[in-house]
Symmetry: C2
Subunit: 343 residues, 2 copies
Amino acid sequence: MSSFVVALDVGGTSMKGGLVGRSGEIILTDRRVTPRDKGPAAVVGAIRSFIDELAVAGGGTPAGVGLAVPGLVTADTALYSANIGWRDVPAADFVPLDVPVMLGHDVRTGGLAESVLGAGREISDFLFLPIGTGIAGAIILKGEPYGGTSGWGGEIGHIPVFPTGEPCACGQIGCLETYASASAVARRYSARVAGTPTSPDASATSASRASSSFAATAASPGVPVTAEQVAALTASGDPVAMEVWDDAVEALSFALATYTLLLDPAAIVLGGGLAEAGRILSDPLAERLQERLAFRDAPPLRSAVLGMRAGMLGAALLGWRAAGVPDAGATWPLDVLKSSRVA
Amino acid sequence: MSSFVVALDVGGTSMKGGLVGRSGEIILTDRRVTPRDKGPAAVVGAIRSFIDELAVAGGGTPAGVGLAVPGLVTADTALYSANIGWRDVPAADFVPLDVPVMLGHDVRTGGLAESVLGAGREISDFLFLPIGTGIAGAIILKGEPYGGTSGWGGEIGHIPVFPTGEPCACGQIGCLETYASASAVARRYSARVAGTPTSPDASATSASRASSSFAATAASPGVPVTAEQVAALTASGDPVAMEVWDDAVEALSFALATYTLLLDPAAIVLGGGLAEAGRILSDPLAERLQERLAFRDAPPLRSAVLGMRAGMLGAALLGWRAAGVPDAGATWPLDVLKSSRVA
């Protein structure tokens, strides 16, 4: 068997690729633009080319290929992505080589990596919650991501935390995402400073945008701001920023209380851009979450440890599973992972 | 191996027992009062006596014993029940015979029965939601109940559906149970008719009360009423009843939308007393649930089919599992089950 797999995390903006060895060594990482504006066939073509280039760089045929993709997906078919526009793409279409391949949902594949290699390494049941442009969760049960009956599970970003609250771009009312995503924080602060009513960013509807964009600018043209800046303003005592930040914490506390009461997780692993704010998010959130729960303890909040690499590392695990090594990752040393950097 | 197991569903008010054969034939059912007011040791003693009587009636030693009990429970220990008051009771303490025994959580054991024998027989992932004095759910994943990391999962009755709503007896605000349990419906109607502010029944805090009491009278002494009566008044156009009923439907629709977005179930199986109201509950609930979901279909609502027998039948499955027959139930004929009646 070849000594490496090709791993690809396909996002709406960029694709993060890597070569990962049998013992978890990250041989190479690279990145390409996702040519989403050229249509789904161009994206499939770009994935094929990127996989081919990575394999060539590896000096041979990989043992397998793992891909994390957005939308609705099974292990062997990318069924649907609103973000990219494809429908029913067989796994083999992504790969220009005759090697085994396994697909995974982007957020859940990141959650798998956190489960096997990251913040969930010593626990089996937890929520992986990346908070970025959007919010989607990976429900990890017995160490593995759970996607529900039809693959639409984990949409915690769209649970109604404030039933009579603000409209969400998804068409629902009072969704978590419309208060607590990084984009929402930036948008709601900008709107208040500009004195305009808030309205959600229409692009913030897919589960696939959770992994980045803490630094994304808000929609309001007059007052561009990032969630990172709102966090800094909150820390410095700016009253408008504090109010917007508090709304985000409040919304998250209700959503996490609900998750805790339903699924009794061992921990909640916060990731994505907003979690980079650190304790200005996690301290009030932990306190508020416990206040919401009268008859049980809140689970601990943890920080995700794999960052932007989670999707690619999860894809590497899928690649090794495709190659017939289902326990890949269990013995990988954490220091190897810590040394990795996505280009 | 003996041809039958002893099955017991231990509730706070009564214990439902039965003898169930290898092919699912219900040989006998019986019922005893739970002597909860005499303390936990008396309850354990009553369970021992009841099991002994059932075994004698069966004419021999059972192949195994299954017990559904309230509170926190593992397969071999009843860890804690606020309702009954016990702590750390080993399974063997309940059984006066040297036979294998398995314990299960009351609501989840009912859910197991609906999964293997009832409304979930042809699906693998669903929510079993008995709505009675209280509300607790059994999350069924891949055919089996899921209890979370520490056994506290499924507390959908206490998720915050209205963040600034009415106080719940549990100490939280706006819990589903405080609007939509059978007791809540009766209590809220009575309070409105009497012109007093609503306040939750202080006894409605444990997950174990979900299975009965549609006919329970409300707390307000002046205007005793049952949820069944409120349902009838709603059907006849009584405006106060319609408002209370609508609040219950509204609260349930938010809770089920949240469940659907998180766990993507194949169906939601409604049981317990309030579900006996039939389409006056399920029709508006199905419509409201779909209204809450902008980007996905709502799962179908189904009626539980095992009724009050669910817990005892689930306990019978546990008894057969304890006896080394893990696939008990898979081939049991439904008509046998339909003919059973708990005394």
